[in-house]
Amino acid sequence: MSTELAVKTEQLSRVYKTKKRETIALDRVDLEIPTGELFGLLGPNGAGKTTLIKILTTLLAPSGGRAWVAGIDVAQNPWEVRRHISMVSGGESSGYGLLTVEENLWMFTQFYGIDGKTAKTRIREMLEIVGLTDRAKTKIYHLSTGMRQKMNFVRGFLTNPQILFLDEPTLGLDVQTSHTLRAFIKDWVGKRLDKTVLLTTHYMHEAEELCNRVAIIHDGRILACDTPGNLKTRLQREVVFRLQVTAIANPERLFQDLRGVQRFSHAEVNGHTELNFILEDENALPPILTTIQQCHGELISLEKRAPTLEDVFISLVGRGFGEGDVSAGATEGEPQ
């Protein structure tokens, strides 16, 4: 494999077996991520993102296929792979509560053989960047969730890895902290051409803001892989509408058979029903409005908007992105 590829997978599969059933977490995934890219893996919970990261970080063996990180086979030579990587996961609670932030960070640098002076310099610099300098001597059990995640971030970057795996790194964080961390990731990759980041997320805007390319993964399969811009142009011919209506029952039953509706998803937002439609053209809109009226729904707002990655996801998967979002395509799996 060319070493210009930071990550490569060929027909990579993972099956989890229990006594009662088999679950296919990854299904013949082919992926190539060149060095220097900030690559996003976008998918809902249970799509297979974390499984892929676990295999690439040598925490899990594949059931089939092969994977290379920094040109090294992850199954055959995991120790060698580990010299090139680091990982940060969202909601991570690693470290020891009785140690301070800088002590915990120093401890992790020792597992990479970094000398004390270099470690301390890097810790100081990185804490400054994420705004944690004043907490350097705070025991980590006193830190808030956001602060702790910032510390985890610093840990991931401290070892100056060639390839960094970020698994839902901003999960559960407030807007400000998420923004700080995203800016940090962008800056880190932007200034270092030899670094690669594989980011998994289920936040569309995060993938859109950060990633050079995005792969959409669902049920263990890569459904599409391209730049966010190119993915969205797939929907250029269609029109996308977002409607807010008063709560209506069974929207999937009401809209799934309407002519011209390619995909739709719905969610309950602040007591209202939000409906997202991908339509063949604007002529499909009047029947939708009529249907809403017929079921005594009241239109609160209607917005025609540019396609987003979420629309791309809906068009590919046939349902919305949010957890528990029950929505239907016009027909199962394929556009009308």
Binding site: K54, A61, P78, S93, S94, G95, Y96, L98, T109, F111
Partner: protein, 275 residues
């Protein structure tokens, strides 16, 4: 900057992982009560039994020494063997695995940190025990005594590393092993009496736990007169056996860790929490 050698990564890992244990002990002083005064109560119970039946005064020394060594056995069972389970629950294990270091180095760091902390506790138990119960010792050979003590710890913590490989794969399920081993080993290793009292064959079987031989040898080197009639094996044989046990346990631990890590990676158990 050149990348560090494997050896450098190894010893830095040992220091790095020992650090939280040593520092943690200083920052959480509750151990003074729980790990020193409470064990002394158990030691006192045995001392009063021996005194009630008018056993020779050396038996008080046997008990105090056994009480001190109890701390190491508990440390091995609950802070070495089971530690990987807790590390998995907090997410640290993932970070250990993906670091370019060896799990043996992580465990050695835990062991050194554990030994430092436990030695302080054991020393406190001995000092207070000797003071309260007026135990007199007559050291036969200080180098031999130190040798036996250190070899006992090496073999004991080697055994702990071996057990920890089970926790790497089986997680909480393996904690039954620690429960199973705790009390029976107090009995068969002769923590509160000379192990010879169990009979030669039983003592020989119990010798697979290094503390059995270590305690017997240390008692012979501290209470030579009384132990002349209770000794299990000659001190030199026990020293040799401890060397063998140390090598066997450390080698087995290294092999078992590699094997269990491999199996756990295939099963997907390395990162599953709550199992």
């Amino acid at each position: 900057m050149s990348s560090p050698s494997r050896w450098e990564v190894f010893w830095r890992t040992v220091i790095g992982r020992a650090y939280p244990r040593i520092i943690g002990m200083q920052r959480e002083r509750s151990w003074v009560f729980f790990d020193t005064l409470l064990p002394l109560l158990q030691v006192s119970a045995f001392v009063f039994i021996y005194r009630a039946i008018q056993a020779p005064p050396e038996f008080t020394g046997f008990v105090v020494l056994g009480g001190a060594m109890t701390a190491y056995w508990l440390n091995v069972l609950w802070s070495m063997a089971t530690q990987f389970y807790w590390e998995k629950e907090t997410g640290n294990l993932e970070l250990y695995i993906i670091a370019p270091t060896s799990l043996m180095a992580i465990l050695l760091g835990m062991a050194i940190g554990g030994i430092v902390g436990t030695t302080v506790r054991a020393a406190a138990v001995i000092a207070i025990g000797l003071l309260i119960f007026h135990v007199e010792v007559s050291i036969v050979s200080l180098p031999q005594l130190l040798g036996v003590f250190l070899l006992t710890l090496v073999a004991l913590y080697g055994l702990g590393m071996l057990f920890s490989s089970l926790f790497l794969r089986y997680g909480r399920q393996a904690s039954h092993l620690s429960n199973l081993l705790q009390e029976p080993i107090f009995l068969v290793s002769g923590f509160y009496f000379p192990v010879r009292a169990l009979g030669f064959v039983a003592a020989l079987g119990a010798s697979v736990i290094p503390v059995t031989l270590g305690l017997d040898a240390m008692r012979q080197l501290l209470f030579p007169t009384m132990m002349a009639q209770f000794r299990f094996l000659d001190v030199r044989i026990e020293l040799g056996a401890l060397v063998v046990l140390s090598v066997v346990f450390l080698w087995s631990a290294k092999r078992a860790l590699g094997h269990m890590e491999d199996l756990a990676r295939r099963d997907g158990r390395l990162t599953i929490r709550g199992q």
